[in-house]
Symmetry: C2
Subunit: 197 residues, 2 copies
């Protein structure tokens, strides 16, 4: 067991992170209330004190898992067909939101960025904002290509307002479980078309 | 001090509820982290045990305050001018979301209705859903009047998807603090117009 005190990527720190993240995902997938640090510690085999030292709170840990998931596992598709890419992306968001762990991830980011949140460090909040910017930049590249090809793509804000926002609200308020991905995507695509009148 | 054991509207139960609600609003208005039952008890003068017995958890209490606020204090305006009514309503939602306690109220409802929430009773969840239906019915009446007058009003779903959802997402993700109430309302009004092509 050659362990060194300094943090090295791929070393003990990375293994700890992977074990803790896997435990969080497993607990969220099981549904129920928000997991506690104690439950994460028991499932991961990582000591509770270590988790608190590294993440500070369960909210901060959930945010870390959420942003990792967002950036690593749900890239914006990039096939050159903007409508198809938006449909695939929105469909995967809708599917994630239907599952307890996907919803919990969105919720963790929302909690972290909420003005009322006092439990997330400035560092983690910056991480959440960086993952948002990275996602926005991915979408921007697809929109830029469409414009370069002579199309009239929506802006990133339109994609968020017209596609992501209603998917999220419907999942959150639970007021209509089935989602209308195609309607939302086509609204975003139409919003950018030159108006005739 | 003539106190009777049974619950009477306007009696001790109502006074307890009013004191506890006022304390929650004051704590939320002050910002910071979600208030604890202990803080609510201290500020309201109502015993912690009484609060737990009546509401069960801080999440359930926040939800109760949020739905009361929604129904009692933010009625949908009804002047007969649909665009003006939507602008006034959306403006007040946007303003509420900019304030910590307004955001916290929306968040409390979201938490209660989240599939991952295990801390809110079926009774309170039903109360949240009833307040949503009541709000939807208020908006529906305004839309019906517009249709009766020969207009082409959007559906309630369109109002939620195109106006409420982006206001909420922008407040939540904090990705653009200024809101675009007029753009959102006009999108909703346009979405229902007959398409020319």
């Amino acid at each position: 067991m050659a362990s060194t005190p300094q943090r090295r990527p791929g070393g003990r720190t990375a293994r700890t992170r992977a074990a803790v993240h896997a435990a969080v995902r497993e607990l969220l997938a099981a549904g129920g209330a928000e997991p506690s640090v104690r439950e994460v510690a028991e499932l991961s085999g990582v000591h509770e004190v270590t988790i608190y030292r590294r993440w500070g709170s369960i909210e901060a840990l959930l945010l870390d898992v959420a942003t990792a998931q967002l950036v690593e596992e749900w890239p914006f598709p990039d096939t050159g067909d903007l409508r198809a890419d938006l449909l695939a992306w929105a469909g995967s968001v809708a599917e994630q939101l239907r599952r307890p762990e996907g919803f919990a991830f969105f919720h963790a980011v929302a909690n972290a960025m909420s003005p009322a949140s006092g439990t997330v460090s400035a560092e983690l909040r910056e991480q959440a904002e960086a993952s948002m910017r990275s996602r926005a930049a991915q979408i921007q590249r697809a929109l830029d290509r469409e414009a370069a090809n002579g199309g009239h793509p929506p802006t990133v804000d339109m994609v968020f307002d017209l596609v992501l926002a209603p998917l999220y609200l419907r999942a959150m308020w639970n007021y209509e479980p089935e989602t209308h991905v195609e309607v939302f995507v086509d609204r975003a695509l139409r919003a950018a078309q030159p108006v005739s009148d």
